[in-house]
């Protein structure tokens, strides 16, 4: 199982994914500088990704608190919080792009 991550510079990487893990955790544990400040509590919005439109329909609808966080972080039509997306076999090959707010900048 894998996901395809597009980073801030437009580069694509294939990341090994594990069923039941959050997409945020997969990105983070591969060592990408994702902010994900609240650690997946759906309370910061800094794990935002843009989902490839072809994949969007395969995802569950965002819940209220995810929508709230997307509101606060200038989400667009295809934006989701990667900490709210759990890997399942149906999502094998999922393509996401890291949003600007999710990319950790050097201090």
């Amino acid at each position: 199982m894998r996901i395809i991550l597009v980073d801030g510079k437009g580069r694509e990487r294939e990341l090994e994914a594990i069923e039941g893990w959050r997409v945020m955790e997969i990105i983070r544990d591969h060592g990408f500088p994702i902010v994900a400040e609240c650690g997946g509590a759906c309370a910061c919005g800094t794990c935002q990704v843009e989902v490839d439109p072809q994949w969007a329909a395969k995802l569950h609808e965002p819940r209220g608190d995810e929508l709230d966080m997307l509101d606060q972080n200038y989400g667009g039509e295809w934006s989701r919080l990667s900490c709210q997306l759990i890997m399942t076999p149906e999502l094998d090959g999922l393509r996401v792009r890291l949003a600007d707010v999710a990319i950790r900048k050097a201090a």
């Binding site: 400040e37 609240c38 209220g64 929508l67 509101d71 606060q72 200038y74 667009g76 039509e77 600007d100």
Partner: protein
Amino acid sequence: MTQEAISTDVVIIGAGPCGLFAVFELGLLDMKCHLVDILDKPGGQCAELYPEKPIYDIPALPVVSGHELTERLMEQAAPFSPEYHYNEMVEELEKLEDGRFRVKTDGGLVFEAKVVVIAAGGGSFQPKKPPIPGIDAYEGQSVFYSVKRMENFRNKKVLISGGGDSALDWTINLQPVAQSMQLIHRRDGFRAAPDSVNKMHALVEEGKMQFHLGQITALHGDNGQLTGVTAKGNDGSDYEIECDTLLPFFGLTMKLGPIANWGLNLHENLIPVDTGKFQSSEPGIFAIGDINTYPGKLKLILSGFHEAALMAQAAFKYANPDAKVTFQYTTSSTSLQKKLGVA
């Protein structure tokens, strides 16, 4: 604006859970505390980021919400009559010749304290800026992240962006003074009190304001004065909105802020401390909670509580080098119970 300095034992910077519990531990040692926070309420992250979410790892409280934990900490600190100063950002911290510390806020408050406790968590809460190109050039002149005086918006063509309580409350409150009022939000749902949402819809129906679906993508104007914005609708099409004032309300985020300028050693935006006193590189300035770092540090509330207890002992000894501290339990010490108002 200069004001007379408030003289006290301790100034605590940050009224999050760790700052609040420090009041209790310092209070048992007769040290009087003033707390300063940029937020308009106590509780730090627990109050601002997750008031309704359950916390499961506070010892002896199997489940407690961020809001309830804050209330209980306030109750526990109350016997020591701490003084709270909200909506104030600590900007300056300097050591005086007599060994005390002077603390200054952006609102003009000045404190002189024997010790300072930095319990600033992830830093001070500040408004999130929307990622619209060139917005900096308008800030302070025609783009504002808060409303200090409603009068400043009289006869303005105001555009508010956002879908939370602040966005809706200010839409409703400023509508009568503004020349025109428009609200833009990326979806037709809001995370605000239903009553405010209904009021906003009613104003739209009465023709007193406009609501747009979409997201601002560009600002137009000259020399910091806004004349309008371009927005992208959910169908992907662009449209223009005329306005001379923009108020973006996208919640708050934590930024280290002025702490970086106080001459303390920092490591990746955290204050390194020792684990016996939780003291910074400057004797008399202590750091507890999420803002500090040491080998094995965990950013947990329970760790911050432990840090507060040890810090209080060290702070007392720093402020009273000749006094003897006797270790006492609250269960059995009459003198501690008197301080708590229960004996």
